[in-house]
């Protein structure tokens, strides 16, 4: 697992209060992890803080799975 993936999953577990095993790369924030649209706004904020990147709204809207988040962050670093 990449270092980015590790850190992303840790944030997801903390923010959504889900078990770490459920946070697979294929997991959808809304369908599998119980998030709503505001939870995703909060997650995106946490990713921005953690990785020092800016994730504009149009990019954030396309982040649906854990893998989407990891890939976007990696592409900006």
């Amino acid at each position: 697992m990449s270092e980015t993936a590790d850190r992303v999953k840790k944030i997801v577990v903390e923010h959504l209060g889900v078990e770490a095993e459920k946070v697979t790369e294929d997991a959808s924030f809304i369908d599998d992890l119980g998030a709503d649209s505001l939870d995703i706004v909060e997650l995106v904020m946490a990713f921005e803080e953690e990785f020092g990147v800016e994730i504009p709204d149009d990019a954030a809207e396309k982040i649906a799975t854990v893998k989407d988040a990891i890939d976007y962050i990696d592409s900006k670093q």
């Binding site: 923010h15 959504l16 209060g17 119980g34 505001l38 939870d39 706004v41 909060e42 904020m45 803080e49």
Partner: protein, 419 residues
Amino acid sequence: MRRVVVTGLGMVSPLGGDVETSWKNILASKSGAGTITRFDATDFQSNYACEVKPADHEYGFDANKRVDHKVQRQVDPFIVYGIDAAGQAIEDAGLLDMTEEERFRAGCSIGSGIGGLPGIESESLVLAAKGPRRVSPHFVHGRLINLISGQVSIKYGLMGPNHAVVTACSTGAHSIGDAARMIAMDDADVMLAGGAESTVCPIGIAGFGQARALSTGFRDEPWRASRPWDEARDGFVMGEGAGVVVLEEYERAKARGAKIYAEVIGYGLSGDAYHVTAPHPEGSGAFRSMQMALRKSGLALEDIDYVNAHGTSTPLGDELELGAVRRLFGDAIGGLSMSSTKSAIGHLLGGAGAVESIFCILALRDQIVPPTLNLDNPSENCAGVDLVPHVAKERKVRAVLNNSFGFGGTNASLVMKAV
């Protein structure tokens, strides 16, 4: 008018994460006061409060029992306390499995005096330091006063009236009184009613300190600070927590064989129309509030055995309340006991009226009245009134009166009796 009874109780207090633990500690004359742990209050006007204790404490509160991890992260503590107390109450009433039809007629009236002050403070600091795009998307609905009622209705599927009172320190009593009326008026059959507060945060302590409302002189012995009617009293001690009761239409409660704690028989409300923080110098608002509640109850003055006073331990308020009680009850004052449980748990502000109503109900159930701690030297105007100093007292308790008064000059009184 339909009759309204209490069939469930829930509480989070500085002396326990549930009703029975809090009550046992109240009767054992314990104090929930201590040096503030939430933040370093060394340089504040007051550095002590009655905080709800952490889960690993002997009488702590475990938020994980009833409140989702995600919700805990998103909302202010007053909402967490309120959700848990509501959960306790609905479990106690045995109403977790209501049908959809029943839930259309079951609602919430759980308020708060101030709301999410700690979160307003901390997110304002985030805004100042990091800008608007770092403010939590849950900021607004994690702080709003009606979000206990909102969260509880979602969690338990309660689709009846969804209401939240905001009347400062009268909130808890108004919440119960208003909800009882909704049932009496046939707007609902079941209501979760009460109040919650948590403002033990820098801006909360600083604000009440600047209003000259807080006790400041007991830094070395905070458990001695809340001392209603005592000559050495110098202000209230901040408390926090929540109280919620299940109110239910009497025939419905009887038909399902519910445990009935008490009947709400009188509710009085009034305004001082005098000053934003100071009570009316003749206690006229307090007097009229109690008078209305008693008139509605149909009881005689002699029928009231216990008064849970607002009694915040402020120099002005305590004696004015006692004066109003004395004028209203006349000779009957000799037969009643009156105490302030704020001496043990501090002032829960918007939660106070609900938590104290629960203590009244437990006094009816157990035929014992809780003590006023630290009442070493009663003021001279206290002569001839049983203020239950230091230790709880077993006695006959047939009917009770609970008083709550708030900033803005808002007053509420409730009368309850055993069924």
